[in-house]
Symmetry: D3
Subunit: 137 residues, 6 copies
Amino acid sequence: MSTIVTVCRNEHFNAAHRLYVKDWSDAQNNEVFGKCNNANYHGHNYNLTVELTGPIDEQTGYVYDLKLLSDMIKEEVLDKFDHKNLNLDTEEFKTLIPTAENITVVIYNLLRKKLPEHLALRIKLYETERNFVIYPA
Amino acid sequence: MSTIVTVCRNEHFNAAHRLYVKDWSDAQNNEVFGKCNNANYHGHNYNLTVELTGPIDEQTGYVYDLKLLSDMIKEEVLDKFDHKNLNLDTEEFKTLIPTAENITVVIYNLLRKKLPEHLALRIKLYETERNFVIYPA
Amino acid sequence: MSTIVTVCRNEHFNAAHRLYVKDWSDAQNNEVFGKCNNANYHGHNYNLTVELTGPIDEQTGYVYDLKLLSDMIKEEVLDKFDHKNLNLDTEEFKTLIPTAENITVVIYNLLRKKLPEHLALRIKLYETERNFVIYPA
Amino acid sequence: MSTIVTVCRNEHFNAAHRLYVKDWSDAQNNEVFGKCNNANYHGHNYNLTVELTGPIDEQTGYVYDLKLLSDMIKEEVLDKFDHKNLNLDTEEFKTLIPTAENITVVIYNLLRKKLPEHLALRIKLYETERNFVIYPA
Amino acid sequence: MSTIVTVCRNEHFNAAHRLYVKDWSDAQNNEVFGKCNNANYHGHNYNLTVELTGPIDEQTGYVYDLKLLSDMIKEEVLDKFDHKNLNLDTEEFKTLIPTAENITVVIYNLLRKKLPEHLALRIKLYETERNFVIYPA
Amino acid sequence: MSTIVTVCRNEHFNAAHRLYVKDWSDAQNNEVFGKCNNANYHGHNYNLTVELTGPIDEQTGYVYDLKLLSDMIKEEVLDKFDHKNLNLDTEEFKTLIPTAENITVVIYNLLRKKLPEHLALRIKLYETERNFVIYPA
């Protein structure tokens, strides 16, 4: 029986965003989102950790080649979000608010459908050095 | 059905402490606590991570406003412990030894009673860059 | 004669920006600025170090109260740039390109005029964990 | 009933290794392991986190003395692997490929047999700042 | 002619301290030192970088054996200050205020007299991740 | 007159090495180089900072395009040293001992001859998180 471990890869991207509910007044958006509601956007360096859990291949000693994982993250996540305005430049956040919570779930879904089914996936996203999100919890 | 994620906030405080059991001899305290038993105290920069797990609000994209969480940590934890002597200046450690383990559980209890019940709470406390504690395990 | 030392304070802000020369064609801007020319902006977590060099006050043991320095940085720099679009929301970068180099020099000038003349000033600005700027060199 | 927490200790070691399957051709090894198959080895600074989960001792406020844990890690792990060639200088990796996955499981087994049975153990191993492994998952 | 380079070693210690001028009133001390004047002390994890500048030895490729430097820092600095109350437990700060500035200069003087004369010395001391001091400037 | 600033780029590589003087006895090498003399090599993750000092271009706001600098570092340094055995796989350290000091000077020379003459160059190399070298001093 194979040993189950978690392998993790860190990547990063830089993006602009704005947090606001379109149907709300400015006052309401400012009350809930504060400075994050700045009309001309602000931005972050996002640090992303992708964690895969599965059996160690007995021959290669790998759970999943982290070079392949890095390439997959580049294609599915970084090429979409890096150096972009999340609200204006992406399909994913045309209507969905680009909070760190929602970005994390979106990244999970983008990678989940590309990964082998036998691997469990977890995403950790640092919006700043002080604020971060983990999914699944 | 809402998606459940974990949102996390880092804060920090600086404090002095001494580890010893009042009923023990000096020799016994030195054997168990070593340098941490220094009679005139020593100190640390404590780095604290507070993790909340719960559903993403579909309208705001938030699990819990991290600005509010930061304010709560300030009121309930930092105002009590920052720039203090944990043994002498706090109610919490008048009789309880201020090990990193006990400080972590105390911080959990201080925040638990202020947070909405539907949110799960976890605390991570770095006493140094090399030693840290997580609660619940 | 007083001992001369350097005291340093780290702060941070988050902002959106776009790098481009208004008089250039899109092709020319893309060739020079690449992804940083994204029309809808992108963003960064900027980490800022402010270094002051001067004599230690013999009575207080301070070169300059870092709490005061932190307040000054907040008023002169963070209130201007944090959670802002540098190109659209600031006077400083209406015509000046907001490269890390230029932001660093602008911050130097904002703080220089508020600080006592006997203190030398140096600014270090991290645009990402991989790219940073120091001024004066 | 005692409170259960997790206490963690960071240590580090530096080692050389090479990833390859002895029965495979050079072409096959290069395809799977790429640069990690370099015949003359390459190396890493490994950062190791050892996590112990168990009850807080009511008298000492400790789960386990982290100084003792640090000594145990030194004897069981660092003395074996630090400043060594994992493929050539260690019994553990004479036939087992020294991938980060396998090193993590080996370290788990080395410490597991020395630790009290009532403590749960988890290992986190950073091979680089970008790649790391957790066991048990 | 030998090439001149700078070699650097990071170490750390944990200590308690209090900032106040003995001849001042409580009000005056609170105004200048704020929370750092807490009567029962507070504390920090100090991160220390020692930099030596000198010629590379052509045979060994070393400027100075960093293992010897680490031992010297342990003997001259850490054994004095680690897990101590700087105000109460040390000769150096019986009358001198233990600000980060003064601690840095004291460490410089302790090491300067033990090091070969042909090596230039510089000290960097982090009191927290946000505040640090460099000497000579 | 242009403003002079320093722009910096971090990169990293992983390599194996052994420190020893070929003409010395084993005993002599062990006395000077200790564990670093392990006959089968050990290894490190090297973190490299390249600093360029020069005038800001008034039109682009750049001192030097850090993307070009990153490409140059890849070609001149990483392709030579990453995932290599410095003693066996490189021309540069066939006879020169690969201490952090010597590696730093070698990297300086490799980049110096590729960079425009009007830019000053400085190299910082972390061999571990605790040991690093700066050249020129």
